[in-house]
Amino acid sequence: MTELQEARDIRTEGLHVATRHPVPKGEPILELRALQKKYGAVEALKPASLTFLSGEIHAIVGENGAGKSTLIKLLTGVIKRTSGEVFWCGKPVQLGTPQEAIERGINAVHQEVVLCAHLTVAANMFLGDEINRNGLMRKRAMTDAAQSVLDDLGFNLPAGAVLGSLTIGQQQLVATARAAMRGTQFLIFDEPTAYLTRQESAQLFRLIRRLQAEGVTIVYISHRMEEVFELADRVSVLRDGTHVGTRRIGETNEAELIALMINRTIEQIYHKEHFPPGEVIVETRNLSGPGFQDVSLTVRAGEIVGLYGLIGAGRSEFALGLYGRHRPTSGEVYWQGRKVEIASERIAMDLGIALAPESRRDQGLCLNLPIGLNINLPVFNRLSRGLTINGQQERENADRQIRDLKIKTPSRRVLVSAMSGGNQQKIVIGKWLSHGAKLFIFDEPTVGVDVGTKAEIYRLFARLLEKGAGIVLISSYLPEVYELADRLHVFRGGRLVASHDYRAASHEEVLTQAIGV
């Protein structure tokens, strides 16, 4: 047996290690008894008792702040519990450190990829567990072993590529492969599909089912109900740090779960009001720029124009071009009938365009600064008299947005990084409400946002339309644009490939146009 062969065998063995069942399928593998976590006086997780059965896919749903992340951190040893007991394969365990969790075979795949973007896929898969010989790394052996794992999983990914050159979705698949390779018994997915395209999601689901078939227990956390019903065997609901129930998937439905999650029924999450379309706010004619070509569309007052497509289809690039972030290379923009050159963000803002960008973390917010400063950032020139800022107006403006948008914070001085995804999104929106605009561009406004906040955001859309604004809604989540957009444009490969009126085309038709089969 060659060394290379040997190395590969050692590594790929990890994939199948889970077949050595620690407990028979269907028996409890991890049991929580009155598990509790307190931060000071705040009870992030009230005493919860939950049992995970070996080999099941167990979904956990709940709004932001319901205690899902606390639960994951407790299970992966990132934080220590305040009280309660955890039993792994019937024996009490501490789970006091991440190392302990990993040694027992508990791994997590996070929503935001926590790997090294500058290293190769193979290096990331072996990170902290490299193949060495005489103290030197066996780079070739690792690349080959990683490649065989990726091929085996059916991912079409090169092990030698630098991780940062892949899409976020592909990076997520690498993170999953990494966990799968390490002899995982118990794998937690924290909203894995938030940034994935449909194809990537499908690949991920196949992998999850395969891991399950090999005996791995899966915990799947998601905001997307249809995924829960597609994948899970059982589902547990958390609300305000309390475990409010566990159901077999066949014995429940979406309405019941939502009722459990938010303690009230939502007649319709997609709150849609139709307004008579008003004057044309903006019109683009054959607009081209970096990442988009030949886009012609109009937005009228009182209407939502939806841009649907896969990630990288050119929708966000078009939005950034319209907003002056990237200068269009050809084509024209007419603002309320007048031809304009939008050469900078400031010009766009002064015309009356607001952009809530795709990534809250990278483009939307100054995370380590206070909420108030973030909300006021676009309007400081208005809040200033001469050289100095009017402190009272500054405070009032921030507090008004916090109150109007029901941002859950004790104070405007709290740092944005301490807020949940839903509240962060409200802060982004608050920035633009305080600035005011005629055209609002919302790019993926509900990624990582819970059902309750989603409904609030959709109602806010109606309020904006009522006041005569126009909205461009960009989303990779079809039901959202489908249910809300008065006119739906489909993007593919940087071009606008199809347009539909409200609910005029079927889901399948729109999807096919977006994927381009």
Partner: protein
């Protein structure tokens, strides 16, 4: 309306609270050092020594304030020491050439503006990291200064200029008054004006700032110009104090300035900093040096002690921030 004021009064605490508390503990540390040195030596609390201490700390303090603007944008300005030496040469040269004093001062400050603008140009237009562009000027400015003086020094004969640094006003050294002259506008700029907010926003997330309509490039220009202009101002003060222009003066002052800023609670990752912090930091460093001299501590040990104190103070600052989370 009343609910709002109550809220802002009552729960406005976490961030500003920490900043003020930290400022107070730094002030406490400074006073404690002064008390200790007063007890340990006879010469500390003499008018002469206090004046001396205030003069020593003044120049680092001004550099540190300018440096802090840059660090808040998540940058660094390694050139300030070299700018001090270089501008001392410029002012001496201008005075020797018979240029009227006030014009010489304005021209010297204009050099500061130019150098800062050059740094920002390198960062914004050429895409160079701040560390690199300011490291490059650190080296070359000393070279240009040496070329101008042919490696020697230019003495300054203008008595009005050289007397300034020795003068007192209301019993306080004029050099210390210069700290106040810089600090008050700096405070207004950083904490009360929108440009100050923009510095923090750019340091925290420049893309988010940009998409919010902040002119990121202009903000970076502003930060580096302010830093270099503060350094040029210190160059004037130094020239006045030592009565010569010499390009090799102020060696290592950039590190003093960065240390003062960091002791004062500025984060090298950007978006955290104040004006009062670096001022206190600079005078803490000056006190340590002054005290060590009075106590006849070996100057080699002085360096070691200074280094150790930087670690201790910044470590405690980190601890405080973490527990405040």
């Amino acid at each position: 309306m009343s609910a709002e004021t109550v809220e802002s009064g009552a729960s406005a605490a976490p961030r500003k609270g920490v900043s003020i508390l930290f400022g107070l503990t730094l002030l406490g540390l400074l006073l404690f050092l002064w008390l200790l040195l007063g007890l340990a030596t006879n010469s500390f609390w003499t008018p002469n020594n206090i004046s001396n201490l205030l003069r020593q700390g003044a120049m680092t303090a001004i550099l540190a304030v300018g440096q802090t603007f840059v660090i808040i944008t998540a940058g660094i300005d390694l050139s300030v020491g070299a700018v001090v030496g270089f501008t001392s040469v410029i002012v001496a040269w201008l005075l020797a050439a018979g240029v009227p004093l006030w014009i010489a001062i304005i021209l010297t400050l204009a050099f500061g503006v130019l150098i800062g603008a050059f740094h920002a140009f390198g960062i914004v237009r050429m895409g160079l990291p701040p560390f690199i562009i300011t490291l490059a000027t650190l080296t070359s400015l000393r070279g240009i200064g040496l070329l101008i003086t042919n490696g020697s020094t230019i003495s300054i004969t203008n008595e009005a200029f050289t007397n300034f640094s020795r003068a007192d006003f209301l019993g306080v050294p004029s050099l210390f008054w210069m700290v106040i002259v810089v600090a008050i506008p700096a405070y207004v700029f950083l904490h009360l004006s929108r440009f100050g907010r923009y510095l923090f926003a750019v340091g925290s997330n420049s893309e988010a700032a940009r998409l919010s309509g902040v002119n990121v490039h202009r903000t970076i220009y502003l930060a580096y110009i302010l830093s270099s202009t503060c350094a040029a101002f210190v160059g004037l003060l130094l020239a006045s104090r030592i009565g010569i222009g010499n390009a090799t003066q102020a060696e290592g002052w950039e590190l003093q300035a960065i240390a003062s800023s960091v002791i004062g609670g500025t984060s090298l990752f950007g978006a955290v900093g104040s004006v009062h912090g670096p001022l206190l930091g600079a005078f803490i460093l000056a006190t340590i040096n002054n005290g060590a001299n009075l106590l006849n501590v070996n100057s080699f040990w002085q360096r070691i002690i200074t280094g150790a104190l930087i670690i201790v103070i910044v470590y405690f600052d980190q601890l405080r921030r973490r527990s405040a989370r």
